[in-house]
């Protein structure tokens, strides 16, 4: 049977979009299928009253500036979407507010950060210098050796990388600093990986700090939905076909090779290549079926744990950020120095002790209507506790937890309660509903050291079936956008080697 398409991409999340676009741009006939009615997956927004709430993007990494472009800027340029979007640079990394304990703002340059930290923690001067030297040296080595695929990578050539890559972040923090406040102030980005410093590999913490300092944090005018819309738009202009409100029920397999998909409407679509932007778990067990999951895959999947989802409180405020004392776009708010405890609480429905409050209006005054602003407050939450409550208790539980969040936000910004005009809350089950991911996971599997790319066997036993997104690479915007692009390149290479005509 002749193929309907060269490639079918399942899911229009970040990685689904970039893989579909990369293939279409290379002249391939691509069908992009999405269950929901909008592209983006996490990268989306929704409207309540006069506010449009950003769902997922807090700080876009890897952009860099025009003079010093970062890897993501290059990718977006190659994809042809850069000119369709307006990026807003955020002035600072973040402000971390621990009421009664610390209130520190970290700028977006290495010098500024070091001097701020020295000022606030004068007794730790030496450790601060050393720590950033290490972060920088380490990252340069990781980039040179691993990211650039140096064929002569060795311990001798990249000593710091080999010494520190798998160290736990906490060990490195402990060996540089004494003050627990400083340790907390310097490491809130662990929440961007979803794993506390006691387990987070130093590679992950270091590259986060390095990337945001070197390439600066960014936001997008119109939010992440603008990015998703731009990617889709360019895909369509390149001759791609997209269908929304179209779930995929099955991946067709013939003689151990992918042969297309069956949609939720029972329609068979024939194609020799399928890229799944769905979770690996549901792709194997739901879309392929248990008979296509060999022992090796079972073990590989089963050795990882499903990562955190999030609880997000979207607040539309009838005042400007400064009226509430919100001076930064990115605010970590915490009441505990104990990051292990903070993390442990993400598996319960108890009061959270640390969250991230983003106020995009600070860096983009057009973000909300004049005289108003929005604050998006998010904490990590695993879905399990939410799955264990019955449907009858769902809304009460949601409001109770949202109440905890409001209390926590109010500790940093008293008076926030008096300016609420719209409030919406998203639980792990909300994320599960819209993403379809097990556990409503926002970053795929938990990202322990053992789950680093270095140790993952992503090879799919079904020829022609590929994965793109957070379940096979890191989570977050830059990693997933990059993941889709890379997978598409592998597919293109495979097509070329097999002589699949264009």
């Amino acid at each position: 049977m002749a193929s309907d398409y060269d490639v079918v991409v399942i899911g229009a999340g970040n990685a689904g979009l970039t893989s579909a676009l990369t293939l279409a741009e290379k002249g391939r006939k691509v069908l992009l299928l999405e269950r929901h009615n909008v592209p983006g997956g996490c990268a989306t927004s929704f409207v309540r009253g006069r506010f449009e709430f950003e769902v997922a993007l807090h700080q876009l990494s890897g952009m860099g500036t025009d003079d010093k472009p970062g890897p993501l800027r290059e990718i977006l340029r190659e994809l042809g979407v850069l000119d369709k979007l307006e990026f807003v640079q955020m002035d600072d990394l973040y402000r971390i507010i621990m009421p009664g304990v610390a209130d520190v703002k970290l700028g977006a340059s290495r010098e500024e950060i070091i001097s701020t930290l020295k000022e606030n923690f004068p007794r730790e001067k030496e450790g601060i210098e050393k720590f950033f030297d290490l972060v920088y040296e380490f990252c340069m080595q990781m980039i040179g050796g691993v990211y650039m695929h140096d064929p002569d990578i060795s311990r001798e050539k990249y000593p710091l990388y080999f010494r520190y890559a798998l160290r736990k972040s906490k060990e490195v923090l402990d060996s540089h600093f004494n003050d627990p406040v400083l340790k907390a102030v310097i490491s809130p980005y662990w929440s961007y990986m979803g794993i506390p410093p006691s387990h987070l590999s130093f590679s992950d913490l270091a590259i986060l700090l390095f990337a945001y300092i070197e390439f600066k944090p960014f936001h997008i005018k119109g939010g992440s939905q603008a990015l998703s819309n731009a990617l889709l738009d360019t895909f369509l202009q390149n001759g791609g076909t997209a269908r929304f409100n179209t779930p995929v029920d099955k991946i067709l397999v013939e003689d151990g090779r992918a042969r297309g998909v069956v949609t939720g409407y029972g329609e068979e679509i024939i194609s020799d290549y399928v890229i799944s932007n769905a979770s690996t778990i549901s792709t194997y067990y739901e879309l392929l079926g248990p008979e296509y999951v060999p022992e090796e895959v079972k073990k590989e999947l089963g050795r990882s744990t499903i990562g955190p989802s999030a609880f997000t409180l979207f607040m539309g405020l009838d005042c400007e950020p400064k009226d509430l004392g919100i001076e930064e776009a990115t605010n970590f708010i915490g009441t505990s120095l104990d990051m292990e405890r903070t993390y442990a609480l993400s598996k319960t429905l108890e009061k959270p002790e640390m969250g991230l409050l983003s106020c995009y209006d600070v860096s983009d005054p057009d973000f909300s209507p004049k005289g108003s602003s929005q604050a998006v407050f998010v904490v990590l939450q695993y879905a399990e506790a939410w799955c264990n409550i019955g449907p009858s208790e769902y809304y009460d539980t949601k409001y109770r937890y949202a109440g905890f969040m409001l209390d926590l936000a109010g500790k940093a910004f008293p008076g926030i309660r008096d300016h609420l005009e719209e409030v919406e809350a998203a639980t792990p089950l909300t994320h599960q509903r819209y993403l379809g991911h097990p556990g409503g996971a926002i970053y795929g599997f938990d990202q322990y050291a053992k789950d680093l790319n270095l140790f993952m066997n992503k090879k799919c036993p079904i020829d022609g079936l590929f994965f793109a997104g957070s379940w096979v690479d890191s989570g977050g915007f830059q990693p997933t956008l990059t993941s889709g692009r890379q997978v598409a390149k592998v597919v293109i290479k495979d097509m070329e080697s097999k002589g699949v005509p264009r």
């Binding site: 909008v38 409207v47 731009a230 089963g302 009838d318 379809g436």
Partner: protein, 388 residues
């Protein structure tokens, strides 16, 4: 040597390798996870419900309540928040369309959802539901949805409901819930109705007001009979001052016929109520779009435009009718839910031509930039090409 062999030289590699080996031997079984995801989503937000009409009750001469129960063997219905609606799909003489109806029953029980339907002049769907639908018939609906409900995070405990005509239905659910559960919330319903003998839920409202100290009921008749001694006219600032007294820290909710919103908002402004203290229910497309501000002056509503659907057929569409209605009439299915421009379910890409979208259509900024429209309240003012 494989290109990844260097990994073995990284400090700590042995520990990680061992951890991986152990975990592989005790691998978690994820074969059931997908089913659980579907189950959890299905319990809270199924895409569709099949509901059987178990009872039809006449409320007034113009209005009936349809009691809807699940057709599934366990009778399960998802929870909802008082004030939410379900979108009811119907097939009427070959046309598949839908209308959202607020659930009027209390969420404190989930054996059934009541929807209360009033006959609307030229109402395509309301006539069908009131005159054709029989007990035992099965209707397809969406799961409960919508954002017009009490939010304990910031609505406070002093609520004023401004209802007009059939706009009573979401409030009925809220009033029933609060009084049935004995919740610690004050409610004052100011209900504008035209005729004394066509007040929906009149007896029950009086009865609940009589037995519950936290619920007050003020009926306002716009066409009162001679000698009527109750409140008359419209819901004005003066009337609200008279019945409510102190306005401080009250949350106002409005639901009723479309013109009522602009009217009440103005009256509340006169009283100095900040806009964040006013919640409004969705209200469908305007009755006559040509009266909306911004409508192209010289365009007649009966003008017919061609709408080409990419990869499909070309249909005729009336300028004065929401594009969604023209599509439905031509047998083209677009996802629909609120039919008021709010929920974005019908989001559609406009490839060519122009539509008129009245005030209050809630499009995302970038959707506007990239040419998306909400066909439920988008009116063709040129020939169009769209992508579904």
């Amino acid at each position: 040597m494989s290109s990844m062999d260097f990994v073995k030289d990284i400090d700590g590699y042995q520990d990680v390798a061992k951890e991986i080996e152990v975990l592989r031997n005790y691998a978690r079984d994820y074969s059931y996870v997908g089913r659980n995801v579907k189950r959890t989503i299905g319990m809270l937000h199924p895409r569709r419900l099949s509901l059987r009409v178990s009872e039809i009750r006449e409320e007034t001469s113009s209005t009936k309540t349809l009691r809807l129960v699940s057709i599934s063997s366990n009778g399960y219905l998802p929870p909802f928040q008082a004030g939410q609606y379900i979108n009811v799909f119907v097939d009427i003489s070959g046309v598949r369309t839908s209308r959202p109806y607020s659930i009027s029953s209390s969420p404190s029980q989930r054996g059934y959802y009541d929807i209360t339907v009033r006959k609307v002049e030229d109402g395509f769907v309301s006539s069908y539901l009131l005159e054709e639908v029989k007990v035992g018939q099965v209707l397809e609906t969406t799961a409960p949805a919508g954002n017009f409900y009490y939010n304990p995070l910031f609505h406070g405990d002093d609520l004023v409901f401004l209802a007009g005509g059939s706009g009573i239905t979401p409030f009925m659910s809220m009033i029933r819930e609060v009084t049935d559960k004995g919740l610690d919330r004050k409610m004052h319903l100011v209900y504008g109705s035209q005729w004394e003998d066509d007040v929906i839920f009149q007896d029950e409202l009086e009865d609940r007001a009589l037995h519950h100290g936290n619920f007050k009921y003020s009926l306002v008749l716009s066409s009162p009979p001679d000698g009527y001694t109750g409140l008359k006219g419209f819901i004005t600032a003066e009337l609200l001052e008279q019945v409510l007294g102190n306005m401080y820290d009250k949350m106002f909710y409005i639901c009723g016929p479309k013109p009522m919103y602009a009217y009440c908002v103005k009256e509340l402004e006169k009283l100095g109520i900040p806009s964040r203290k006013v919640r409004m229910e969705i209200s469908g497309p305007p009755k006559d779009v040509t009266l909306e501000p911004g409508w192209p002056q010289d365009l007649d509503k009966s003008t017919v435009f061609k709408v080409e659907i990419r990869g499909g057929k070309t249909i005729d569409a009336l300028a004065g009718e929401p594009l969604m209605v023209s599509l439905e009439r031509a047998g083209i299915v677009v996802e629909a839910m609120c039919r008021s421009g709010e929920c974005s379910m019908c989001r559609t890409k406009l490839l060519k031509g122009k539509v008129f979208q009245p005030q209050g259509v809630r499009l995302r900024k970038s959707d506007r930039d990239f040419g998306y429209i909400h066909p439920c309240v988008a009116y063709p003012i040129q020939d169009l090409e769209i992508m579904i």
